[in-house]
Amino acid sequence: MSVYQKNEVEEVETSRTLSLIVDNQPGTLARVIGLFSGRGYNIESLTVTEIDKMRNLSRISLVTRGTSMTIEQIKSQLLRIVPVHIVRDLTLEGQFIKSELALVKLVVKGANRVEALRVAETFRARTLDVTLSSFIFELTGKPSKLDAFIDLMRSLGDTEISRTGVSAISRGNKTETKLLDQI
C-alpha cells in the first residue's frame, strides 16, 4: 500500500484460503513469511510440509484476510517469489475442504472427567493419553469445530492446546498433476 490514504469506501475484508506449491528449499518459507510481514498482510494460519519427494516440492496452505484488491496483490506478490510455482485461491475456485488437527490436554478431576469424555465422544475426538487427573484428546476437522471443542474443554479445567493450522484441498475430481508436471 502507498503511504497516501485511500478514501474510496473500503471493501469488506474476507478470509481466503490459498494453496501454494513451492520448492522445498531453505529460505522459501522465510521469503513467504517475509512477504506478509514486510508488506503488512495478515496470516491467520499457515502449514507447510513436503508433498513430493521426487520433485522436492512442498505445499503451503495459507489462510489470510483482506479486501479483494489486497488478496490479488498478495497472490501476485507470492508469484514473484522465485521458488513459488503455483498459487491457488481455493476460496475463489469453489468448494474446498479445510481441515485441521488439534491436540488438547485437559487437567480435570471428579465429575468433570465424565463430562469431558462425553464431549469428546460427541465430537468424535480420540483419547490419546489418560492419567488419573488428565486426558489428551486428538481432534480433526474444520477449524470452527476445533474452536468449539476447545472452548468446552477450557470450561472443564486447565488446558494446553496444540493445533496444526489449516490444511486445504479443493473438492471434486480435478488434480494438480498437469500443473506439477510443468514445473
Binding site: V3, M69, E72, L79, V82
Partner: protein, 586 residues
C-alpha cells in the same frame, strides 16, 4: 571427452564469463580469497577495485543501466556483504539486474558466529529478487547460470549468491549453461490478449483527452521499446509525460513531451494527468511521488496499465485495463492494432485538449529569474545541458534538489543516458554509479550531477576514479545545505533548519588536487559557461565546485498530501499549511 574439473572459484569465474560478464566491481577479503586468486591475471574479466562495497553495487548499477547488461559485484563475507545491502536495495527498488557474489565462512562454521560471519542470505532476502547460499559444490554452476536468468528476466532485480569458502576451494565439474528458458516470471509473449489490445486501442483512439505516462519499465525493455513508445505518441498525437525513471524514453525534443510528472514535475504534465479522460501507463508503477493524493488522482479517467510485473497492476491505483507483458511486445501489438483501426475511423480531434495544455504551458512552471551574480542552480543545469548536448553524454545524480533540477532542466534524447536513484533515493549513488558508466563507455562524457552533502557520502570513490583514469566530471551544485531537507523544513516545519546545514565542507578544489585531479570553482554567473567549457575540455576527471544560490527551492512542487491540481509554483504561492496527514508522508 575429458571431464573438466576446476576449483569452485575457477568454476564461478568461468560461469560468469559464459554469461557474458566482462567487468566485475568488488573488494577483497578473507572469505573471497580463492575467488580473487581465480581472478588474478584473468584475461576475460576486468576487476574494478572500488573503495566501499556499497559503491561496488552502485557502480554495477550504473554499468547495467547504461548498457542494458547485468552488473556484477564481488564482496567478502560479514562487513563486505552488509556494506552491499544499501546497493542491493537500491537495485531492487529500481529493477536493475545485478549479480552479487558474496564470500561466506566455510559451511562447517556457518551458525557458529565465526569471524566475519553474517547471515547474508537472511539479511539480503528482503532486498534481493532472489538469493542462494551454495552448500553443495555440485550445484554451483547451475545456480550461477540460473541467477543470471532470474536477474535479467521479467522485472529485473538483484540476485545474491553466498559462497562459503570451502565451496570455492572444492573440486567442481564445470557445467555449461543450458539453453532452456526459465519459465518463472517470464511472461509468455504470445499470451497477450488480442481482445484486450483491441479494446485499449479503441479507447485510445476515441479519447478526447488522452495522455501517455511512461516509466522505467520502458527503459528496462530495451531501446526498441522507447522507439515504439515514441511512435505511438506520434500516431496518436497525444501528450506524453515520463517519470523520473523513464526520462529519455521519448526524446525531450518531441513536441508532444510535457516534461516529467509528479512531485517536481511540470505544471502541464500534472494538470494533463489530472484532467485526462484516458491514461495509458507504460512501465511505470504509480509511485507515490507521481500520483500525489490518491483519492484525487486523475479522477475522471479510464486507466490502462502495461507492466511486466503483474503485482504492479492494481497495487495502489485500480485500473480499468491491466496488460501484463514486456513493454516492447505489448507496445508493438498495440501500435499494430491502433494503425489498423486508424485506417477505419479517424482519431478524435484533440485540438481542444492541446489548446488547454498549451494554456497550462504558458504558466512556464520551470521559469526562474537569474538576477544578480549568484548562480541559480537551475541555470547551472541549463547551461550544462546546452554545453554538453552535442556530446555523447551520460548523466548520473545523487539525491536532493540537484537531482530534481537535473531531471527538470537537463534534456534526454535517448534512454539509458540517465542514472539516478529513484525508488530508494540513495544519497551517494551518483559518484560510484558514474564509475560503472564510465567503465562501460570509456570514450563518453560521464557527468555526476551532485550535491555537496551527497558527494561526501561516497567520495572515497575518487580514489577508484583516479586509479582507473576515469575522466568522470563531478558537477557539484554546492549550496552548503542538504537543500531538499532544508526546503521541507522551510515549507513544513516553520523554517526550523534542524541539522540540515552542511558545515565543515572540504575545499573541493584542494580535495581534487590531493587526488591529483583538477578542481574548478565558480561562484559568478558570468564565469559559469567558461567553467563548464573548461570542465569538458579537461581530459581527466574534474571536480567542479559550482557555488549556487544557497536557499533556492525546487519548484514546481506538489506539497505532500496534495493532488496534481494543487501544485505550488513558487515560494510566493499561497501555500496552505500542509495537512497533518501530509506531514506524515515522506
Amino acid at each position: 571427452m575429458a571431464i573438466n574439473y576446476n576449483s569452485g572459484a575457477e568454476a564461478v569465474i568461468k560461469a560468469l564469463v559464459e554469461n557474458g560478464v566482462e567487468v566485475i566491481f568488488g573488494y577483497p577479503g578473507g572469505a573471497v580469497l580463492p575467488l580473487y586468486d581465480a581472478l588474478f591475471e584473468n584475461k576475460n574479466i576486468k576487476h574494478i577495485l572500488v573503495r566501499h562495497e556499497q559503491a561496488a553495487v552502485h557502480a554495477a548499477e550504473g554499468y547495467a543501466r547504461s548498457t542494458g547488461k547485468v552488473g556484477c559485484v564481488l564482496v567478502t563475507s560479514g562487513p563486505g556483504a552488509t556494506n552491499a545491502i544499501t546497493g542491493l536495495t537500491d537495485a531492487l527498488m529500481d529493477s536493475i539486474p545485478i549479480i552479487c557474489l558474496s564470500g561466506q565462512v566455510p559451511t562447517h562454521l556457518i551458525g557458529t558466529d565465526a569471524f566475519q560471519e553474517a547471515d547474508t542470505t537472511g539479511i539480503s532476502r528482503p532486498c534481493t529478487k532472489h538469493n542462494y547460499l551454495v552448500k553443495d559444490a555440485n550445484k554451483l554452476c547451475e545456480i550461477i547460470h540460473k541467477s543470471f536468468v532470474i536477474a535479467s528476466s521479467g522485472r529485473p532485480g538483484p540476485v545474491l549468491i553466498d559462497l562459503p569458502k570451502d565451496i570455492q576451494l572444492a573440486n567442481v565439474k564445470y557445467v555449461n549453461k543450458v539453453s532452456k528458458i526459465e519459465k518463472h516470471n517470464n511472461v509468455n509473449i504470445s499470451n497477450i490478449d488480442k481482445d484486450l489490445i483491441h479494446k485499449v486501442a479503441t479507447l485510445l483512439l476515441q479519447a478526447e483527452r488522452p495522455i501517455i505516462y511512461g516509466g522505467g519499465g520502458v527503459v528496462n525493455s530495451g531501446p526498441y521499446a522507447s522507439k515504439l513508445l515514441t511512435e505511438l505518441v506520434n500516431i496518436l498525437d497525444c501528450p506524453v509525460t515520463l517519470t523520473l525513471m523513464g526520462l529519455g524514453c521519448v526524446p525531450n525534443t518531441n513536441k508532444n513531451f510535457l516534461g516529467m510528472l509528479g512531485m517536481h514535475g511540470t505544471y502541464e504534465a500534472n494538470l494533463a494527468m489530472h484532467n485526462c479522460d484516458v491514461m495509458l501507463n507504460v512501465g511505470a508503477r504509480f509511485d507515490d511521488r507521481v500520483t500525489g493524493r490518491l483519492n484525487a488522482f486523475a479522477p475522471n479517467s479510464k486507466k490502462i496499465h502495461i507492466d511486466v510485473d503483474k503485482s504492479s497492476i492494481n497495487k495502489v491505483v485500480s485500473v480499468d485495463y491491466g496488460i501484463v507483458g514486456d513493454c516492447k511486445e505489448v507496445l508493438s501489438a498495440l501500435i499494430h492494432e491502433v494503425k489498423k483501426l486508424h485506417n477505419q475511423k479517424s482519431i478524435k480531434s484533440k485540438t481542444k485538449w492541446w489548446s488547454q495544455i498549451n494554456q497550462w504551458k504558458e504558466k512556464d512552471s520551470l521559469g526562474f529569474k537569474q538576477i544578480g551574480n549568484n548562480i541559480k542552480p537551475q541555470q547551472a543545469i541549463k547551461s550544462l545541458y546546452e554545453k554538453t548536448k552535442n556530446f555523447d553524454t551520460y548523466i548520473t545524480t545523487e539525491v536532493g534538489q540537484h537531482q530534481m533540477w537535473a531531471a527538470q532542466y537537463f534534456g534526454f534524447s535517448k534512454p539509458n543516458r540517465w542514472m539516478t536513484s529513484g525508488g530508494l533515493g540513495t544519497m551517494g549513488y551518483g559518484l560510484p554509479s558514474s564509475v560503472g558508466v564510465q567503465i562501460a563507455h570509456p570514450k563518453s562524457l560521464v557527468i555526476d550531477i551532485s550535491g555537496e552533502a551527497s558527494f561526501l557520502m561516497n567520495m572515497q570513490e575518487l580514489s577508484t576514479i583516479v586509479q582507473y583514469k576515469l575522466p568522470v566530471k563531478i558537477f557539484i551544485l554546492n549550496n552548503e545545505w542538504m537543500g531538499m531537507v532544508r526546503q521541507w523544513q522551510e515549507l513544513n516545519h516553520g523554517s526550523r533548519y534542524s541539522e540540515s546545514y552542511t558545515a565543515s565542507l572540504p575545499d573541493f578544489v584542494k580535495l581534487a588536487e590531493s587526488f591529483g585531479i583538477e578542481g574548478l570553482r565558480v561562484d559568478n554567473i558570468n564565469n559559469l559557461e567558461t567553467t563548464i567549457d573548461q570542465m569538458i575540455k579537461i581530459k581527466g576527471p574534474v571536480i567542479a565546485d559550482i557555488r549556487v544560490e544557497k536557499e533556492e527551492n525546487c519548484f514546481p512542487m506538489i506539497p505532500s498530501g496534495a493532488a496534481h491540481n494543487e501544485m505550488i509554483l513558487s515560494s510566493d504561492d499561497n501555500h496552505n499549511d500542509t495537512s497533518n496527514e501530509g506531514l506524515a508522508l515522506v
